[in-house]
């Protein structure tokens, strides 16, 4: 993976999880987003929802204590927190489509400076893997994206306009990469925080589209 600079995967997840507010209902996508549930969020009460109808799941089950009929969206055997509830798939997407998810965290191939993103299909591919991503992208109150800042061959993933088929348009609220924390705005990507060891010039050189930098730019705290 190309993420040798800046934050590692758990640190990206940690930074996004710090955005979660007390009482939020959050859906975590497969991959790095799942790692948000490892983040210590102190005394904030967050309810994790997964597409298969589990509302209020906890950490991954300990070896030998798995319930084989209880998985999160990534198919991992998880536990339940007190106060959890299970609903069927249509009701679960009722939670999503009805606007009851405060934030969804997803991976992506590309994010555009206007808040489009692409995560279901490669260029020229026939078909793809949509899963619940389009529902979540279109309907969650906030869409947080976590992705490596550049591709394996060094090209930008934060772009002026996606050239991959998009998952939804104009929905991305916040982007965490290994290089920094970004917000799509009407004037392009706003760099809100920078990863330790990175410079604004490095980020500018590897970011497509316009880039503005917040006043008093701070480093991302990686203590948690």
């Amino acid at each position: 993976m190309s993420g040798t600079k800046g934050l590692n995967r758990q640190q990206m997840a940690d930074r996004v999880a710090r955005e979660f507010q007390d009482g939020w209902i959050v859906n975590l996508g497969v991959g790095i987003p799942t790692m948000c549930s490892n983040t210590d969020i102190g005394d904030r009460d967050i309810t994790y929802h997964s597409e298969n109808g589990v509302i209020g799941y906890g950490g991954v089950a300990a070896e030998g204590h798995e319930d084989l009929n209880l998985v999160n969206a990534g198919g991992q055997n998880v536990t339940l927190k007190p106060g959890a509830a299970v609903v069927h798939h249509a009701d679960s997407f009722g939670v999503i489509r009805g606007g009851h998810i405060d934030a969804t965290v997803m991976g992506a191939y590309q994010v555009s400076m206007t808040g489009d993103f692409a995560n279901w299909k490669l260029k020229g591919q026939k078909g793809g893997g949509i899963g619940g991503a389009m529902d979540l992208a279109a309907c969650a109150r906030r869409v947080f994206i976590i992705l490596e800042h550049v591709t394996r061959d060094g090209s930008a993933r934060l772009v002026t306009a996606c050239d991959l088929p998009v998952t939804a348009r104009g929905v991305v609220t916040l982007v965490a990469t290994n290089y920094g924390l970004f917000e799509p705005t009407r004037t392009g990507f706003l760099l809100r925080e920078i990863a330790p060891g990175l410079t604004v010039d490095e980020i500018r050189a590897t970011t497509g589209g316009m880039l503005t930098v917040t006043h008093g730019l701070r480093e991302i705290s990686i203590s948690g």
Binding site: L68, H89, K126, G128, G131
Partner: protein, 246 residues
């Protein structure tokens, strides 16, 4: 009570009459709720030109269990309606994918929530509905949209089924079902959308009235055939998920 019993003594008997060309949905999200035993029986039964509906075509995980991919390899499938024709990770290859890419099997790719809602609509007598999902994407190209209260929505149609294959924890002889944890997923939705619902059941089937009416997840009126899953190795059960080697 002279109504014909819903109990079937084998998976083979439960699927024996399924004709070629049927539309069949399989419950399940990852392992939980997947009707492995009924899918296996359908492979032995041999019905052809099937349209299959499920979240995914299967085969991304090890150990591999009976899935749509196997029915495709078995030459039984004309079309698949699902949320994944390819794996989430581009480096994973689904057994189904090459059949789709070559054009041998048709596929209709549907966002997962839209897939669930289309079946819910079929069961609930709603022929079509509007959804914000997929607006502005390739999936909406050339399709009918409508602006309601200033937002654009896509028109989606109900997806009725001939058969639903589902798996539940508990059943009574009236066909009432209870699911355990995320085993529930698509099961109750598919049951309402199908002309005939066939359920494989983890536990011994109990007498009608054995489930409190407040605790029923799927009402017996939606369930037509019940088969109890025998212990392994005769019956297939969910196992712990193992990551595919990358």
């Amino acid at each position: 009570m002279t109504q014909k019993t819903k109990l079937r003594s084998s998976f083979a008997e439960a699927v024996a009459d399924i004709p070629d060309g049927s539309t069949i949905a399989f419950g399940g999200f990852a392992m939980p709720g997947t009707p492995f035993n009924l899918i296996k029986a359908l492979m032995d039964q041999g019905a052809k030109r099937l349209t299959l509906v499920a979240n995914t075509t299967g085969g991304a995980q090890q150990p591999r269990m009976p899935d749509i991919g196997m029915l495709v390899e078995n030459g039984q499938v004309a079309k698949v309606i699902c949320a994944f024709t390819a794996a989430t990770r581009p480096t994973d290859k689904l057994p189904f994918t090459p059949y789709y890419e070559s054009g041998e099997v048709e596929a209709e790719l549907v966002p997962q929530g839209t897939l669930a809602e289309r079946m819910r609509a079929a069961g609930a007598g709603i022929p079509a509905f509007y959804t914000p999902t997929a607006v502005g994407t390739e999936l909406a190209e050339g399709r009918e949209t409508r602006v309601i209260n200033g937002r654009e929505y896509l028109l989606e149609y109900a997806l009725p089924l001939d058969y639903a294959f589902i798996r539940a924890r508990t059943a009574d002889t009236a066909g009432n079902l209870r699911f355990h944890r995320s085993q529930r997923n698509f099961g109750p939705v598919m049951a309402t959308a199908a002309r005939v619902t066939i359920a494989e059941i983890d536990e011994p089937i109990i007498a009608a009235g054995g489930i409190d009416p407040d605790d029923v997840h799927t009402a017996g009126i939606y369930v037509h055939r019940l088969v109890q899953v025998p212990p392994a190795p005769d019956g297939l059960w969910p196992t712990k998920r193992q990551e595919r080697k990358r």
